[in-house]
């Protein structure tokens, strides 16, 4: 079975080289996130004013910032924090949203209508502003960025899972599962949810990129992660002050890191759906 899955994955990747590129990009990101602090050439927090604002060189591939910290090391170390925020936020909103949405889609009726209206109300807010307000109210901490990002993502997952489950609620195999003695709850959790997972994988992957941007955005405006912790959003924010004096590297490299991370997750989405869906296998 495992070898069949591998062969299938290889087939998808061969037919869609962009997915392979994206997958290796994500793999590298994850590797950096795990190894970050140990492979960073310098201490990301130790300042060294004598070397402040140096342009990129072989000693400092991404230059140094106003406190003389090595930007490259800071970029490497920041990967872990950014990925952890994005993954946990998306994980929470996926887990909650998929379950809520699946039950709404399966049950229909009053539950479905009231949750649907609540989701509509949430989506009427500008989501980033909502996240800002939540972080401001809850306190400037990493957990709160995760919670805020998770909450503003929730409506998308609820809607998505609801729609996907709704079209499947009356198919034969759902009724067959009932006839085999499954309760409604286990039909939703053990039969319908796994079947909507492939479609949701796309949403998750796109959403990861978006969550990274969101976390960086919150840090950029000063909510969330606080200096001197290395984080891509903060690095952009701090570097922005020096852009007018031609110190481009302070913004360019963290910006590039953000862009590449988001791009990889977005590109991965479609390939992921094909890999996860057993029907795509012959």
């Amino acid at each position: 079975m495992a070898s069949a899955t591998l062969r299938h994955t290889a087939w998808i990747l061969r037919g869609n080289p962009l997915t392979a590129v994206a997958a290796s990009g994500v793999a590298i990101l994850v590797l950096i996130a795990i190894l970050g602090p140990s492979i960073a050439p310098y201490d990301p927090i130790a300042s060294n004013v004598s070397e402040a604002l140096l342009p990129p060189s072989h000693l400092h591939p991404a230059g140094t910032d106003q406190l003389g910290r090595d930007s490259f090391s800071r970029l490497l170390v920041a990967t872990r924090l950014d990925l952890v925020i994005a993954v946990s936020a998306v994980g929470i909103s996926f887990a909650l949203g998929a379950v809520i949405g699946a039950f709404c889609g399966y049950a229909g009726g009053r539950l479905d209508r009231s949750v649907g209206r609540f989701v509509d109300v949430m989506m009427a807010f500008p989501l980033f502003v909502l996240a800002m307000a939540m972080v401001a109210a809850l306190g400037n901490r990493v957990e709160n960025i995760v919670i805020a990002t998770a909450i503003i993502n929730l409506p998308f997952y609820i809607r998505f899972a609801r729609a996907e489950v709704n079209v499947r609620r009356n198919v034969g195999w759902v009724e067959a599962a009932r006839a085999c003695g499954e309760s409604h709850v286990s039909v939703v959790l053990r039969f319908l949810l796994p079947n909507v997972l492939p479609a949701m994988a796309v949403q998750i992957s796109l959403n990861l990129g978006w969550a990274i941007l969101n976390a960086a955005g919150l840090s950029f405006i000063g909510l969330g992660v606080r200096p001197p912790t290395p984080e891509w959003g903060i690095m952009v924010a701090e570097g922005a002050r020096f852009i007018s004096t031609g110190k481009w590297w302070l913004v360019a490299f963290p910006g590039l890191a953000l862009m590449l991370a988001v791009l990889c997750f977005n590109l991965l989405g479609d390939g992921l759906r094909d890999i996860l869906d057993p029907r795509m296998r012959t």
Binding site: M1, G172, W173, E175, A176, A177, A179, C180, G181
Partner: protein
Amino acid sequence: MTEPLLRIEDLHVTFSTRLGLVEAVRGVTLSLDPGEMLGLVGESGSGKSVTGFATTRLLDAAGRVTKGRILYRGRDITKIPDSDFRALHGAAMSMIFQNPRAALNPIRAVGLQIADAILSHKRMSKQAAADAALKLLRAVQIREPEKRMSAYPHELSGGMCQRVMIAIAISCDPTLLIADEPTTGLDVTTQKVVMDLLAKIAAERGMATILITHDLGLAAQYCRRVVVMEKGRLVEEAPPEALFSYPQHAYTKRLVAASPTASSWIEDLVTEEERGQYLALRAACKPQAKPAPGTPLLLDVKNLAKRYDQGPPAVTGFSMTMKAGESVGLVGESGSGKTTISRMICRLIDASEGEILFDGESIGHLPAREFHRSPHRKDIQIVFQDPNESLNPRFSAFDCIAHPLLRLSGLRPGSALRQRVEECAARVGLPVELLSRFPHQLSGGQKARVGIARAIACRPRLLVLDEPTAALDVSVQAVVLQLLDRLRREDHLALLFVSHDLNVVRMMCDRTIVLRNGSIVEAGESRALFDDPQTEYTRALVAAVPHIRRAQAPIVSEGQST
């Protein structure tokens, strides 16, 4: 002889797929005279539709005509450029598809859609096109055509939609019409009306028609000449009477045998040799002892009713009984409530009123949402209509069959479970090596077997069959029906057979109940009921079933001559 309108010579069509090139049509040669109706019959994968699509150049991008010619009025139309072909579409040849609702634009009034078809080929004012559309709606016998002009497809029934499709197809007076399964999915009475209409229009306008169908009876009834296709090849061509009385090719023999007629028995569905095997198998089943007196009925349904929030009640005052080992047919057209009744008896949905006694015990009081805990859950099982939709795409065949055993028979994963699953697979004739496959890797017939194996895994006493063969080819249907009949005898299993196919029900069931609009019209012994229907409605149903006309020559003469 006049020149044929259409002549297909040695046509080959190839599709490029993930598994390499697949030849869907390999060397089809046929011709069609003006005004003739030709039946193109075959099972799924026989290449009959692909032949039709190749003729009208509607093959999808992966398909290509690799060899052969298609001559329309003596001109090879496989070579002409697309721009020239557009002129042929509609005006020279047009097509009707299987699912009329999907073929119509859902957000445009049907009158406008007909007018669009006219305007794309003829220069005239919008008003003139609308008038022509109205005339066409009248021609396809739609009641109150003025009103229907502004109706949207969803406001019309399936039969009405197909008439609109016919109106569009004939709007530019084509000389050739290709009807691809035009009545599949329609009720039998609607099918008759639509086909009669199609035949009448074709005759009036001198339009040649190719009727592509899997239904031998339908082709036999409406065509003067029938062509049988198998695996992309043409295997036999003859007038229907000859074809069905004296089929020459082995495949045709099998196909003709498998098509149930108004008089066939279940053992007739296979060729002579296999018939003996089947009868021997059946004879080997030990006869069941007569139930002791005082044994309650297996199923006793009293005054069942179901109302949904909106609309008229789906079912009212439905009562029936079943003894152990008995088979009862539930027939009716779409909307007759037969599916609702089957789900209520299976306790998948709750009845609004009435009582269901199983083995003398009321099972209706336990709500459907709690019924999975009932000890009777494993006694009542169901086989679903579409085998493609009745298996969880993420479960292998093994998981599907093991599921009820794990849930209802209390087995744990291990060798005992594997043994039971393999035993069930063997009983339904599913090779053990297929058990590790996922549903999409199985054929329709194999999926149907998995569905049946799952349903019988826990040795139920009542099996509800919801159109179990509606999505299957006739040869597969024959095997599945024999399988069900054998299982019934072996396990003393009661079968509640829900179907719209009267020939199948007559063969399979001791008794039949005819439903209409949620209540019983007529009930009785199957053969008596079909031979001599008492109500107008049943008579109409029985009369609408297309049948194979056998040649009148007595079979004996054949025996004497050899």
